[in-house]
């Protein structure tokens, strides 16, 4: 019986079960710590799926999401002289960015905490400025994304804007290092490897352009002037 119910964890968190099944499964959860733990993880996963649904939008819509979140931009007035149906359709599209923003905000709280991009530190102002720079790159119309697994576990994502000549390097799930070691990010170009800084938290801004490569190495705490170890990841910008 337990085996049969265990396989229901996925359907349960997606709310794809009948009312009776839901109640039965919740009773089961009370005395099945394995299922309970799995449900917790899958529930978090399902919350992040909401984001994928919300953000299947063109770059222009992403700009509108940003604007809706910050309420810093007035939308242009509805075009006059269009048919009522046309205006309703335009209004529906207007409404969408707000829903996207709400969904994005709700679902991304977990993501923000998971990615470590939050403002729970004392240097709030510095974080805000840095967050603005990161936002500019990530929502740039020419933003280009590269992702790779690292040999330290986890993965690294690099979002580059050629126009801004900047890249956001973001890591997730990489092995924790002892206090004597640190992850250092490098920008590699024909003229050599330039340090882009140490990976504190899980995201970093680097000056980089197409043709460059981003490398991450493990270095002694405090960093080094040149890479001293084989990179755990290298990816093109």
């Amino acid at each position: 019986m337990r085996d049969d119910l265990h396989v229901l964890t996925g359907s349960y968190v997606l709310d794809a079960v009948s009312e009776a099944e839901r109640e039965e499964f919740e009773r089961h959860l009370h005395h099945c710590p394995t299922c309970e733990a799995e449900v917790r993880g899958l529930r978090e996963t399902a919350a992040r799926l909401a984001l994928a649904c919300a953000m299947t939008a063109p770059a222009r819509m992403e700009q509108q999401v940003l604007a809706a979140t910050y309420r810093t931009r007035q939308l242009p007035p509805l075009p006059a002289g269009r048919s009522r149906r046309e205006r309703r359709r335009v209004q529906a599209k207007r409404a969408l960015p707000r829903r996207l923003a709400v969904l994005a905000a709700a679902a991304s709280m977990a993501a923000a905490v998971a990615l470590g991009i939050t403002q729970l530190t004392a240097q709030h102002q510095l974080d805000q400025a840095r967050a603005t720079s990161i936002a500019r790159v990530v929502t740039a119309p020419d933003a280009h994304v590269e992702t790779a697994r690292t040999s330290a576990g986890g993965s690294v994502t690099v979002v580059t804007s050629a126009a801004l000549r900047e890249a956001v390097v973001s890591t997730s799930g990489m092995a924790s290092l002892p206090s004597s070691r640190v992850y250092q990010v490098w920008v590699m170009s024909p003229s050599g490897a330039r340090s882009a800084g140490l990976m504190r938290g899980s995201s970093l801004l680097a000056a980089a352009r197409p043709g460059d490569r981003i490398g991450i190495t493990v270095e002694p705490a405090g960093g080094t002037a040149r890479p001293t170890t084989t990179p755990v990841a290298v990816l093109p910008v």
Partner: protein, 72 residues
């Protein structure tokens, strides 16, 4: 602001992880979650057994979870 940035990076991550699923896993999850169907309805739509759908949904979500490294 940082939340929207995280959301955009997150979106790329979810898309990539969804691509790592089998077609049946992805379709089962899409129908169940985005389509709002119950798993028996998904089974009927996809023409597969009830147990198969339950397993695909669970396996698919586990794969996405591991791909995104949710650690709970």
């Amino acid at each position: 602001m940082a939340e929207t940035v995280a959301a955009t990076l997150e979106h790329q991550r979810v898309r990539r992880c969804m691509d790592g699923l089998t077609g049946l896993q992805r379709e089962s999850i899409k129908l169940a979650y985005y389509g709002g169907y119950s798993y028996p309805q998904v089974a009927k739509l996809l023409g597969v057994a009830l147990g198969t759908v339950k397993t695909r949904i669970r396996d698919g979500l586990i794969r996405i979870r591991d791909c995104m490294q949710v650690t709970w």
